[in-house]
Amino acid sequence: MDWYETFDFDENPFSIDARENFDKLVDMEEHVEEMNYRINAGSMLVVEGPEGSGKTTLLMMAADKFGGRRKVVYVDCEILDKNLNITHVLQERFGIIGRLFNKKPKNMILLMDNVNYLSKKNTERIKYYFDQNYIKSIIFTANSYSRAKFSDSLRDRIGQRIVKLPKYNKDLAVEVIMSRTDNNEMFNDQIITKIFKSSKNLKELLHNCEKVAMSAAKKERRRVQMADLKVLSDKK
């Protein structure tokens, strides 16, 4: 029996896998709508927000909505180094044949995660492909857009199209946990506040909530108590 079944959940309510959390975003409807519009309208959009604020989840939602016919490419720039060649990334959709014949893609949707790690050279290439219509629309995510190595001409194309996700704060933490647990009284505000204080960001908050909930589940309690928070300090 998995720990979350104690709380009548079919799956882990604190999962941080962006692909599983489309329905768990809080107050994001407007941002999702904006992102979907920009993709349809053929523009660039920057989603800016701290770690754990839901940037990757937004991109995964876009991939889920617009995916198919190999038109959507998701790239996590954090895992790339500066030797990445975005040309090859776009040609991925044609596989080996695409590379051999230098086949050019058209109207791709590019989802670039963590662009703070993207080299200037690659941003220039992206601009070129966008201008040439190989790429129809691009969604960038960044912890800090101002620190991204974007050229002036690329910034000129992006203009004011920046969505800022809310910073990590106590109210947001309470709202997210209540939403994740369907307000089933598994956690109370006081306990969430305590966990909030020991977590740097939303991802860590969720991870810590999971640990605390597991501790309660072991003791076959359906409500988390202050005593369960001990697992957080034990770890440290």
Partner: protein, 356 residues
């Protein structure tokens, strides 16, 4: 339903991609450029972001693609510059097989600010031996490119500066985009243009956002209310700027300065010339707007002066950095940034290609 579909468009009419719409080429004296290319000259087009450099290149391609071989290369395209490879690519399989080669190739080079002096020399060599009929270099600033001196001589009188759209040209641009649809009045477009700091891309972006806002509210005619709602922050910022100016600068000067920076409110009579330069412009309304400096060559003098869009500057000797240091630095930098050409050398990265 997306707003532009509600008014009968299949795609976004305010797309910012260069020449996404053919009629965008407004008020450009393309004939002047076409003449230069037909006369087998080398051109250099410089201009700020969003002034239409890439759009001009796309127009050249559609004009000459039937009679000439056009080779377009952008230095930010991410490949290593290989001129011979590009030129061979312009030849058909049959020509390559028989050894016959095109000799009327027009080479279009975009974003040449990263081009090195040795690459420029190589291009010039192919131009001099007749393989290239003409070459067009494009970037935002002529002075940031390191060119060999003999190439600079070829460019005398052939450096073209694209200038930002005028208010009327911007209005024409939007009218071309949306056709008969009466979504914006001229007065409204003027106000949006001023609030966009006369930047064409920002102007199109603002037109899109305002039109979207209005149509989503089921209003099919944009009003000041829609502008005020969408551009609230911009208007507020400009108000503050004016207040600061009023405090800092003498009142007499305020009016003059405010005229020069972007105005938020556009009145109907703003067409009347106010400044001396405006008067001159109005007087020369039908006169050419190509500004030719130090025209010595009879070829250029004989050209009928056309249109408003270009300032054609003859290069004055000594205005260009005599190279050396800059070039060496650039070359090192480029070499350091070279990417692997073999796919084997590409590192692993996290890429998903989504399929249903």
């Amino acid at each position: 339903m997306i707003w532009y579909k509600k008014i009968g468009f299949n795609s976004n009419p305010f797309s910012m991609k260069p020449a996404a719409f053919q009629p965008d080429v407004v008020a450009y004296d393309l004939e002047y450029i076409y003449d230069k290319l037909e006369s087998a000259e080398i051109l250099f087009i410089e201009g700020e972001y969003g002034t239409g450099k890439t759009t001009i290149l796309k127009s050249i391609i559609s004009k000459f693609k039937e009679d000439n071989k056009i080779v377009y290369y952008s230095f930010n395209a991410g490949r290593n510059f290989n001129l011979l490879g590009l030129l061979n690519g312009a030849n058909s399989f049959l020509r390559r097989f028989t050894g016959l080669k095109h000799r009327n190739i027009i080479l279009l080079l975009d974003e040449v600010h990263t081009m090195t002096k040795s690459q420029a020399k190589e291009i010039l060599k192919y131009y001099q031996n007749g393989v290239l009929q003409s070459v067009v270099f494009v970037t935002h600033d002529y002075n940031c490119v390191t060119l060999p001196e003999d190439l600079q001589l070829y460019l005398e009188g052939n450096v073209i500066k694209t200038v930002p759209l005028s208010q009327n040209e911007a209005i024409e641009l939007v009218e071309n985009r949306i056709g008969e649809i009466d979504l914006f009045s001229k007065k409204i477009l003027k106000r949006i243009f001023e609030l966009s700091d006369k930047n064409p891309r920002r102007f199109l972006a603002n037109c899109e956002d305002i039109a979207r806002y209005a149509v989503e509210m089921e209003d099919y005619k944009v009003s000041d209310f829609h502008i005020d709602s969408v551009l609230e922050e911009v208007i507020e910022k400009k108000k503050k700027q004016r207040e600061v100016l009023k405090k800092v600068v003498e009142p007499k000067l305020v009016e003059k300065i405010v005229e020069e920076i972007s105005e938020t409110k556009v009145s109907d009579d703003d067409q009347k010339p106010k400044k001396v330069s405006d008067k001159k412009e109005a007087e020369e309304k039908d006169e050419p707007k190509i500004e030719i400096k130090e025209v010595e060559e009879p070829k250029i003098d004989d050209k009928p002066k056309r249109e408003k869009r270009f300032k054609v500057n003859k290069l004055v000797e000594g205005t260009k950095d005599p190279l050396g240091k800059i070039e060496a630095a650039d070359e090192n930098e480029v070499q350091a940034e070279e990417e692997p050409t073999s796919t084997d050398e590409i590192p692993e990265y996290k890429v998903f290609v989504f399929e249903n």
